[in-house]
């Protein structure tokens, strides 16, 4: 392998990402065997939360990274190259509310604004601006489904793969905002200084 350092997302994309890297001849055994260690020097891999991947790649602490399009949309000002749609980790960014008469539409009609809880404040704000609706964005860090159930907000904007968590909490999808899949990203300087190694890797992923 070249001396590329790759940022690998722990969480939902972890296992597919390791499978992809293993198929390219990168030794992922140590990463799979060890869920505390973060830096795997020999394999050239570092592991982290998906939302931290663009941070490491933008700074050059990693040459390449893999993370969801949702993360890239939320951090769209990060200067990184988006090289490939890897296809896996397919999720949909949705607007959801509790089932029955739409409380968000009701709030918008009667109060002029709807309150929307989300982990994605920038995507949400942009979406409501694009669709010409006033929304008060309430940023939460997790368990977004709780917000409409407790009256914190009328609606949520969140990422869903199967819709199971939404359903289990009595929520229904009202609108689909965007589809997100895993993406390969590159540091802008590494993209020039390690062009051959990066192009080789990209070529082999495309050829799979």
């Amino acid at each position: 392998m070249s001396d590329l350092r790759i940022a690998v997302p722990r969480g939902a994309l972890f296992s597919d990402t390791l499978d992809l890297l293993a198929s390219l001849g990168i030794d992922t055994d140590e990463v799979r065997a060890n869920d505390r260690k973060l830096l795997f020097e020999d394999a050239g891999l570092i592991t982290m939360r998906p939302s931290d991947v663009p941070t490491y790649v933008a700074s050059g602490a990693a040459d390449l990274g893999i993370t969801g399009k949702d993360v890239l949309m939320e951090q769209s000002d990060r200067p990184v190259y988006e090289l490939l749609d890897l296809g896996y980790g397919r999720c949909t960014m949705v607007l959801a509310t509790i089932d029955g008469p739409d409380p968000a539409a009701e709030a918008l009609r009667r109060l002029g604004v709807m309150r929307v809880a989300t982990k994605y404040p920038r995507i949400s704000a942009q979406y409501f601006e694009d669709t010409g609706r006033q929304a008060e964005i309430v940023e939460v860090k997790g368990s977004v489904e709780l917000a409409p159930l407790t009256g914190l907000a009328e609606a949520i904007v969140d990422l869903t793969a199967t819709g199971t968590t939404l359903r289990e909490n009595g929520l229904v999808v009202r609108e689909e905002i965007a589809v997100a899949t895993a993406r390969l990203i590159a540091n802008p300087v590494a993209h020039k200084l390690r062009a051959a190694a990066i192009d080789d890797l990209v070529g082999r992923i495309r050829a799979r």
Partner: protein
């Protein structure tokens, strides 16, 4: 007690200032020695005069009102103010004109990202010296300046701002789609670029050109519609000294985020830094907007990034 200063600004204390001074001093000496006269222009300008020329995709400039209600803007670069100076103070001067500067510029950034709102740039502008010769002179000064401060492992990415637009035109991509593709190129979104290009049946050609990086051999392999722009790059390359020429990485997809570049564009990379530390290019249309249509080329070095790269090289990063 800690009294805050605005995010994205900082105080510079003697240890750092001594090193910064050594850098700007060495850069200044090279610029002067090569015949570039130092200029200083106001930090505030009329928006109506300089506005709309330096659209930085990240944010733009800070605006304020003067006591008469005129809109003022803090300069976002030195290239536009120097173009204004040439138009109004050097309207009939003999060419070429050579200017250098070291000045702070101000840019709107997203809060809490640690990006500077105030940054120190040192650079030159060469006005009235067309195409290959002018570009090669400026690149030569750039490298002499980086050598003078002791930067070792840097490389120059060299491309042409007219290259991809020319290719899209040759492929008969409709102008609005071409605009979207160029926006995706500037934001480095190759997935979006490929998607958009595929809709017009030109994904292979566009992606191949936009991702071509390497030595002079890549110029020979590139497709027909690129011939003119590539001939220009080859012309520049032939005029560079051997050491400098070996530092060049041709990058056909290089797109700088200022909208006034018309021809050759370039950036400086160093292993010790994850972000370009200098950049520039040709802006053959900008001077015309200030009343004296002249070909021009220049660069700006981000002094703080250069300082970080120097320190990184000392520590042996990579």
């Amino acid at each position: 007690m800690n009294r805050p200063i605005p995010s994205g600004t900082r105080d510079v204390l003697p240890d750092e200032m001594r090193e910064l001074r050594a850098i700007t001093g060495a850069l200044h000496d090279v610029f002067i020695e090569r015949g570039y006269g130092e200029v200083y222009t106001p930090a505030i300008e009329y928006e109506a005069v300089v506005g709309g020329h330096a659209v930085d995709i990240v944010g733009g400039g800070y605006h304020l009102f003067d006591e008469h209600g005129n809109v003022l803007v803090l300069r976002t670069d030195m290239t536009v103010p120097i173009a204004r100076v040439v138009g109004s103070r050097y309207a009939h001067a003999e060419l070429p004109l050579r200017f250098c500067y070291a000045a702070h510029v101000y840019r709107v950034v997203r809060a809490q990202r640690g990006h500077p709102r105030e940054l120190l740039q040192a650079g030159i502008e060469l006005i009235g010296s067309p195409a290959a010769g002018g570009t090669a002179e400026v690149l030569t000064v750039l490298c002499a300046a980086l050598d003078a401060v002791g930067l070792q492992g840097y490389r120059i990415g060299l491309g042409d701002a007219a290259l991809i637009p020319g290719l899209l035109a040759a492929l008969e991509v409709p102008p609005d789609a071409a605009q979207r593709m160029l926006a995706e190129l500037v934001t480095r979104d190759f997935v979006g670029l490929e998607h958009e290009a595929a809709e017009h049946g030109v994904a292979d050609e566009v992606l191949a050109a936009a991702t071509t990086r390497g030595g002079p051999e890549v110029l020979d392999a590139a497709p027909g519609p690129l011939a003119d722009a590539l001939a220009g790059l080859r012309g520049v390359h032939e005029l560079l000294g051997p050491e400098l020429a070996s530092r060049v990485i041709f990058d056909l997809g290089l797109a700088r985020d200022l909208d006034y570049y018309t021809g050759a564009v370039f950036e400086v990379y160093d292993e010790a830094l994850g972000t370009p530390l200098a950049g520039g290019g040709r802006y053959d249309d900008l001077l015309g907007r200030f009343g004296r249509p002249l070909p021009a080329v220049g660069f700006a070095i981000n002094v703080d990034r250069l300082h970080v790269a120097l320190a990184g090289e000392e520590r042996g990063l990579r």
